[in-house]
Amino acid sequence: MQNLGSAREGARQWWMQRMTAVALIPLTLWLAASLLRHVADDYATLIAWLRTPLAAVLMVLLLMALCYHMALGLKVIIEDYVHLDRLQIAALTLIDLLSVALAVVGIFASLRVALSA
């Protein structure tokens, strides 16, 4: 029952899951509204929109919050439902690596569009 004792953590993940959730409400609404506004526009107009400072900053924030929130949520699902030790560790590792990779790729792409001459 005592197992390995208390990990003395978990509060940070719990807090960050809620923080990112709160941040994602306006950010997702903003993205949805922006994409709807540009739905009929051509590629050049969309790029021009993403090059505005506000859109670029919000896009980077959105990607950071989204990937962090996704990693935390997916890990909870794996911990809850996958009880084969090796599979669980493999899945948790994969989630960590892929979500960081996804965030870096997304942020790099946004910055490249926003900052290239």
């Binding site: 029952m1 197992n3 208390s6 990990a7 003395r8 719990w14 807090w15 911990e79 439902y81």
Partner: protein, 306 residues
């Protein structure tokens, strides 16, 4: 209902709307507005190991001359027989029976099948012995009326526990989890000459103004047995019953060990495996709110970190 005299009618209206749409369960007395499915849509024996699969058992017909016959489908398991668990159907004359589900069980045991095994003691909802799964939700057999059950009514032992016999689950692990939160007063200072006094307000934190505070828990484990997080991670997650009691000692103004209690709880599994599903609050036969108590523990931990 939003009062016309309220100084902030708009806020009241918004609160009312929120409560109507996103009903936050605060007590088992709240009846669900809509119930989509009576049970989760998977076959009854889905993914169960061979020896746990439930078979059809026998049917005990009502005696001739019975006035009001009601059917009860009851889970039976006898480890000595080496057979799988089965569902027996009992036709009971509820016209000659007390008003509660426990009365039916006692009538079956004394008049129909004396091998039916279940725990019971006080028959008035204070000992917590007769907790079982009645019509798909955990409740005390002695406080659930026959009139309030379905036709046929299904009676199973508490969910996801090893079964000793029939309706008797093995609670050893749940008692061990209760022991882990160290449910006793811990103090540092010198022992006082007389009782450690509390103000009425301080006592209310334990008993609740309405008598539904954490100290009113009878440890029937209806909540823990009904918690999906505890089903999937019961070896590590403490479950609502133990956590409600952990809060009972954290909320006690006489206790001086809050820090070490929080240390022992702060763990991704012991405490944070609660995903506020709130089955605990929905099923508590005493109308308590373990979900809120767990939230209060999380708040305390957040408080000492910032």
């Amino acid at each position: 209902m939003p009062a016309a005299t309220s100084p902030r009618p708009a806020l009241d209206w918004l609160k009312h709307l929120l409560e109507e749409t996103v009903t936050l369960i605060r007590s088992s007395e709240q009846q669900p507005r809509v119930t989509l499915l009576r049970r989760f849509p998977v076959p009854r024996n889905f993914a169960l190991p061979g020896n746990a699969r439930i078979q059809h058992g026998r049917t005990w017909r009502a005696p001739p001359g019975a006035k009001r016959v009601k059917r009860f489908e009851i889970y039976r398991y006898d480890p000595d027989s080496g057979e799988n668990p089965r569902i027996d159907t009992f036709e009971v004359d509820v016209g000659s029976c007390g008003p509660m589900v426990l009365d039916v069980l006692i009538k079956i045991k004394s008049e129909i099948d004396s091998t039916l095994t279940f725990r019971r003691s006080c028959r008035e909802g204070i000992c917590g012995s007769c907790a079982m799964n009645i019509d798909g939700s955990n409740w005390l057999a002695c406080t659930r009326t026959i009139a309030g059950t379905a036709e046929p009514s299904t009676i199973y032992p508490l969910n996801h526990l090893p079964i000793i016999k029939d309706l008797v689950p093995d609670l050893t692990h749940l008692y061990a989890q209760y022991a882990l939160i160290e449910p006793w007063l811990k103090t540092r200072g010198p022992v006082p000459e007389r009782e450690r006094l509390q103000s009425p307000a301080e006592a209310d934190r334990l008993n609740g103004k309405d008598g539904k505070g954490p100290a009113a828990c009878i440890l029937c484990f209806c909540c823990t047995a009904g918690c999906p997080s505890h089903w999937w991670n019961g070896q590590r997650f403490l479950g609502p019953a133990a956590l409600l009691q952990a809060w009972r000692w954290l909320a006690d103004t006489r206790d001086e060990a809050a820090g070490e209690r929080l240390d022992a709880l702060e763990d991704p599994f012991r405490l944070y495996r609660c995903h506020t599903i709130l089955n605990c609050t929905r099923t508590c036969p005493k109308g308590l709110n373990p979900g809120q108590a767990i939230g209060a523990i999380k708040q305390k931990i957040a408080q000492r970190r910032s």
